[in-house]
């Protein structure tokens, strides 16, 4: 009896360290891709990764953009944060500011050699001597229209602001609004307003010394044009978010809209005729030579300070960026998420998706347009943390509302906008 007890205890003593050594590293990813089909696609990739890496278990916890700005800092302060967290450029300075981020420059350099990141995607996360997140996918704003509607109205695709306004006026009728532009104090309006600013020579919010230069003639002209053009939009555009614009386009109530992508809603809620769906670069001001747009390179921040967890997180991100997996990751929402790596842009896993094949020409145009992608506050190679507050308070959109709802002139509104930016930057 004593002998068998000794054997049992000895075996247990021997097995304990073995089992401890064999315990997999558990890492958690927080992301804001909440729609069930996106969660499902991410889970498929995680299952494959977990099967191929028995020493790591990666799991996901979907969050939402509305809460994450408050939730993530609180969770990290309480030591209950995730190991990886998806980000857009203006979210990163907030976590960097509270000391939750360490640079991933070495890891990004390694990935860049292998996959070749888009420069514009890296630029938004590279400042203050570090790289603060790994770019994962890109979204850029485009002009969407129906080719048949343009042909019927005898319109060419507009390339300048004057053409654009003329086209919107021609498309306006009792049944149709010439264009659907938002004027809500919300992120979507920030994005469309900046897309117009970037096409009017008002790309830079800060000068090279970090001083705000929002109040300048180009910005005023861009606001004047936008405020004028949005008069041809539905009157409830002051409460619009992305969904209303897509519905307006899908129901043919709006002749054109600015949107990252309408492929999903057009394919499922509208005609779904790929040959009729037109996408173009956003028209620029007279005198400008280049079509610009707003582009959001989404990325993943590595938050774990535990060496083993950090290495495991790096392995998972590397796995996602491998061309055979990357396309499937991007196509969790076909037509919306664009590659940020050169080999990803050519990956079969991306182009073989049925929806991507159907709308291939549109997606190629979107990828081409994103080459001139800019993001306010992240264009000069230097990032000032106050851009997070400027962005979060939607001051670009607030400035537009001061004109559209408040009745101010563009010059007054832009001057007030700069004052507000200074106020929130204090």
């Amino acid at each position: 009896m004593r002998r068998s007890l000794t054997t049992l205890l000895t075996s247990a003593a021997l097995l304990l360290p073995v089992s401890a050594w064999a315990a997999p590293v558990e890492i958690t990813l927080w992301h804001m891709e909440q729609p069930p089909h996106r969660v499902e696609r991410i889970q498929q990739l995680m299952d494959e990764f977990n099967a191929a890496h028995p020493d790591i278990v990666v799991s996901q916890e979907p969050q939402n953009w509305g809460e994450i700005y408050a939730k993530a800092p609180a969770a990290l302060s309480a030591g209950a944060g995730p190991d990886m967290l998806f980000a857009i450029p203006d979210f990163t300075p907030i976590l960097k500011d509270i000391g939750a981020l360490t640079s991933v420059a070495d890891f990004v350099t390694e990935l860049d050699k292998k996959h070749d990141f888009l420069d514009s995607a890296l630029e938004s996360y590279t400042y203050d001597g570090g790289v603060w997140a790994v770019p994962l996918y890109n979204m850029s704003m485009n002009l969407w229209y129906r080719k048949s509607v343009f042909a019927e109205a005898g319109l060419e695709v507009p390339t300048t602001w004057a053409d654009w306004k003329a086209a919107a006026e021609k498309l306006s009728s009792d049944q149709t609004y010439g264009i659907g532009l938002p004027a809500n104090k919300q992120l979507y309006t920030d994005q469309t307003v900046y897309s117009v600013m970037a096409n009017g020579g008002a790309t830079e919010i800060y000068d090279e010394n970090g001083k705000l230069r929002f109040d300048n003639p180009q910005t005023v002209a861009a606001y004047e044009f936008y405020a004028d053009l949005q008069k041809l939009s539905p009157p409830d555009n002051t409460s619009w978010t992305w969904g209303e614009a897509e519905s307006c386009f899908a129901s043919k109530s709006c002749g054109m809209i600015l949107q990252f992508s309408v492929i999903s809603s057009y394919d499922t809620q509208a005609e779904g005729d790929a040959n009729d769906l037109g996408v173009a670069a956003i028209p620029h001001a007279e005198g400008e030579s280049q079509h610009n747009t707003i582009a959001y390179p989404n990325a993943v921040m590595m938050l774990s300070t535990d060496e083993a967890k950090r290495k495991a997180s790096e392995k998972f991100v590397s796995f996602l960026l491998e061309p055979e997996n990357y396309g499937r990751f991007l196509n969790m929402e076909p037509g919306l998420f664009m590659p940020v790596t050169a080999d990803g842009a050519e990956a079969e896993s991306f182009w073989n998706d049925a929806t991507v094949q159907k709308y291939r020409s549109q997606i190629e145009t979107v990828i081409a347009n994103s080459g001139n992608g800019k993001l306010f506050g992240f264009t000069s190679g230097r990032v000032f943390p106050a851009i997070a507050a400027i962005s979060a308070q939607n001051i670009l959109a607030e400035t537009l509302q001061a004109i559209v709802v408040g009745g101010k002139t563009a010059a007054e509104a832009v001057s007030d906008g700069q004052a507000r930016m200074n106020e929130v930057s204090e």
């Binding site: 609180a74 907030i94 009157p235 409830d236 555009n237 409460s239 519905s247 129901s251 507050a389 308070q393």
Partner: protein
Amino acid sequence: MRQSRFYAFVFVAPALLMLVAILGWPLLSAVLLSLQDVRSVGSEGSWVGLANYRKVLSNTAFWNASWLSIVWVVANAAVQTVLALAAALVLNQRFPGVRIARTWIILTWIVPTVVVVMIWRWLFSTSGGMINPLLIQIGIIDRPIGFFSSTWSAMATLVFINSWRWFPFIALMMLAGLTRIPSDLYEAARIDGAGTIKRFTRITWPLLAPTLGVLVIVGTLLSFNVFDIIWLLTSGGPAGGTRTLPILIYETAFKGYRLSEAATVAVLASVLLMAFAFFATRSLAKQGDER
């Protein structure tokens, strides 16, 4: 006697401690936060004394939000009281289906806020909504209008939606008050030749007043703190036209990353509400004593 008081304190102490922990500690935390300069959740701050109070009280955004909160509360109280009183008077009658009506009237109140918001957002939409075509068809307007496009129409629309959601609940409270009025009072008044209006002004209204008083206090506190409907429909816009104090607090804390400043606004709003509740309950108690 002294011993029994001691035991009374002992027995009450757990409940008191619980109250202090649940109510007192968060309030104290907010006051302490308002005396610092913490910017975002998780970041450190230093003591700044009353600097935040000076800043907030000299900020026009605070006074605008306070004014809009008053407009919001008064407008909701007026609309909800009228609608609820009308509904309660109808439900106090005997007619076929009254029991079903009394049950189903609370439907709008039990529907989740997000569903209410989706329904009304769609109904008021200019592309696909039903309200605009209806108004055009009956000749009130000739082109679709944006209900959230101007500051006053956005506020009016929000008051309408919030009142639509809440009036059935208040109507039921009023109905409870109405059913407590003895029917023989109405009988006697009728025999004395009192008409409908006189019976309402001389019997219903005075006897319903205590219930209405309580509802005004509770309703004001509830209305003042409404955040979800406003945030989901207008986010305080357009152009700040519906930015009440709760919206300002949220924006300051989680969009402006000025947690301490937001706590300052919250403390000031709490003081305002506590003062209102104190004077209103005292006034009600006084009226009760007089009766």
